[in-house]
């Protein structure tokens, strides 16, 4: 009797074996394992067809192409668009070459980024911030002027701050695939390329607000929320309403008793699970409009979960251990001796009180 189930491919990523269906990309296979094994993705967005391959943040080394042809691939490959082969061996965090390259990618993405995080609405939930914090250097080698653009209102609800853009093309794919007509695209070339609507035409579409959610940085911002608050002061709550145009499943962001922002729900990889319409996003900002489901699950390591929960649910020792283990991850070679702050080497962290206590 023939087996009708498709043959599963065995892939080894960072010495961890995983079985996936044929046609899966390396990135998706790594996400199946989860944690640090999953390469970072700045442009790839699973719900958007054709996205990926542009930011090069997810480059990995393929140490063996497949079981049949175990030669390594000559170059690093973009894991988000490279399908797995049976018996493929992938090195992500175990390859120094990959880590060095990734450090270079952070540097490239940041040289024209304004680093105005203190005034940026995206700070705290920014993919680039997370990526740079995890993989980048603390210093910059770039001394020249950064490119700048004027802020541009596209439509009544969205503001485009092109200076912050990293040209991931996610919003372009959103405009192509989610909205009924293509509302904007990329003009220009090289580092002068910009996301734009032709002759400053307003973006006018029921689903156009989703470009704000897909934007990995603060280039596309919600004008009804701009400068209202910092994301870590707000409290996310899952809610739904009966919406004629979209699914109505959203996340409400509360400050006190006020809903100050409505976004689509995102999964653990910061990808929108269901796109929502502009009415839900911009118009319905009263608790009475919504049926509340409960608090949104936010990663413990996210800044959004800071100050939200009772003290006894937090595990300080765990966090201190986390800090000690990630101490060497930050590449900071600056001389801090004159600052009066004595930085602790990792072995001193271990000697701190409570560091070795068992977790409660």
């Amino acid at each position: 009797m023939e087996d009708n189930k498709p043959q599963l491919f065995k892939v080894t990523i960072d010495n961890i074996e995983v079985e996936v269906e044929p046609g899966t990309t390396i990135l998706q296979a790594a996400r199946k394992i989860g944690g640090d094994v999953a390469p970072p993705a700045m442009c790839y967005y699973q719900p958007l067809k054709g996205s990926g391959g542009k930011c090069r943040a997810c480059l990995v080394r393929v140490a063996a192409g497949s079981a049949k042809d175990p030669r390594p691939m000559p170059k690093l490959v973009a894991s988000c668009i490279t399908p797995v082969q049976d018996g493929m061996v992938v090195e992500n965090t175990t390859s120094q070459q990959v880590l060095d390259t990734r450090k270079g990618i952070v540097e490239f993405l940041l040289i024209n980024h304004p680093l105005d995080c203190p005034v940026c609405d995206q700070a705290g939930e920014c993919d680039l911030q997370n990526f740079a914090f995890k993989h980048g250097m603390a210093t910059t080698r770039y001394e020249e002027d950064r490119r700048t653009f004027d802020k541009q209102d596209i439509g009544p609800y969205i503001q485009l701050h092109m200076t912050r853009c990293i040209l991931c093309y996610r919003c372009v794919y959103t405009a192509d695939q989610i909205t009924q007509k293509r509302v904007h695209g990329v003009l220009g070339r090289g580092d002068a390329a910009e996301i734009s609507t032709y002759i400053e035409k307003a973006v006018d579409n029921e689903f156009s607000g989703n470009v704000i959610d897909v934007c990995p940085v603060g280039a596309l911002t919600d004008k009804t929320y701009r400068f209202k608050n910092r994301v870590w002061f707000t409290k996310p709550v899952d809610a739904h309403r009966d919406c004629p145009t979209c699914s109505g499943n959203v996340t409400l962001w509360y400050r006190g008793d006020d809903v100050i922002r409505v976004t689509a729900r995102k999964n653990e990889w910061n990808e929108v699970t269901e796109f929502i319409c502009n009415t839900c996003r911009f118009e319905k900002k009263k608790t009475s409009d919504w049926v509340i489901e409960g608090p949104t699950k936010i990663s413990r390591s996210s800044v959004i979960s800071v100050n939200k929960y009772r003290r006894d649910t937090i595990k300080p020792d765990f966090q201190r251990k986390l800090a000690a283990s990630s101490y060497t991850d930050v590449d900071d070679e600056r001389d801090t001796s004159q600052l009066g702050i004595q930085q602790l080497p990792p072995e001193r962290f271990a000697q701190l009180p409570h560091a070795n206590d068992p977790e409660p």
Binding site: M42, G52, G53, K54, C55, R56, A57, L59, K75, L76, A78, I81, D100, T101, G104, I105, E107, F108, L109, I111, N112, R141, Y142, E144, I166, L167, Y169, G185, V186, G188, R189, G190, D191, A192, A193
Partner: protein, 446 residues
Amino acid sequence: MSKKILLEHIDVPGIDTYDVYRKQGGYTAVEKALKTMTPEAVVEEVKKSGVRGRGGAGFPMGMKWSFLAKPEGVPRYLVCNADESEPGTFKDHYLMKNIPHLLIEGMIISSFALGANKSFIYVRGELMYVIYILEKAIAEAKAAGFLGKNILGTGYDLELVVQPGGGAYICGEETALLESLEGKRGNPRNKPPFPAVKGLYQSPTVVNNVESIATTAWIVNNGGDAYAAIGVGRSTGTKLISASGHIKKPGVYEIELGLPVEEFLYSDEWCGGIRDGHHLKAVVAGGSSVPILPANLILKLANGEPRMMSYESLSDGGFQTGTMLGSGGFIVFDETSCIVRNTWNFSRFYHHESCGQCSPCREGTGWMEKVLHRIEYGHGSMHDIDLLVDVAKKIEGNTICPLGDAAAWPVASAIRHFREEFEWHITNPQEATRPGAVYKGDMALV
């Protein structure tokens, strides 16, 4: 006299017209291929000839053709890449302008071999007058029955379309060219899928350089083995070289691969030597994107043997002591040229032409250009040199298309071979920024 294949009849007056071209033996290859050969036989001859892609990468053309997927009911396309924009390369322009029918003859044969019924010639937008020449030539060929429906009564149909590009260097990359041809923004595609499987309009497509396609006419007429007998080793046949720079006779030359570089540079038949009273300092052997080589390394290999004009000999020694044949843009510098300024100039070009799709190239090319500008104008510091090397290393190999490599190689090689000159610019800014000032330190001139 060296063997001439493409430029055999270049001096015949009126060779750009159908009648003269036909009288010189033109279109006999089309007759031979369509009437006496099967498409597979033509592919086999091209394979036997060992001709390698003349656009720069040097991938064997017959092998590329045999990769073409042939699903039922899906059209196949041949696209001729005439978007020649590499600084220092002007051979395709010369060929199309002077002997347009040679390209058209090659297009008919190649389309027949690949089973394409509609083929495109994508010409860079700046060459509008060449487009008119090609269109006139296509009309003449059509009137003579070599294009259109039922060519020569064999039942084979072919339509040739000339498409002007928008004038972007990146559209010379094959997948960006296909995007542009489809009417979209010329961004290179992610590979795989390769064009041989999903190319133009998601159909199997072969993209070849003008010179490669033009070669097929001679191969069909004389056989693949005869072509393979010319040249040296795996570098078979002849190659058009666009010679420019500080030489006595700049121009387009057809050379037999395997010709010593020294002979090409100094013989009166070709470049005619460095201009009087000056000495050879450096050569960019294959268009601006290949590594620059100093005088001693371009004439001789690292082990002292003479270097030859062939794919293998030019790349001998890797990038440490070698370069690439590339597209055959042979740019010669004498001792009056400043390597830093030249590298900055190349870098400025790549910064301007980067499509901006993937981050290493978009940001890195601009960064390198700014740092080089700083060094050239006397504001550099010593760690800038290592910074450039590091940035070039981080771009190379990490981009979607080869433009990133092409931007990184000239910078990395200039620093590798001319580091003292960069250091001189940094340590003597006042002297270095005087107009016409050139490093006169210790270096190998020939």
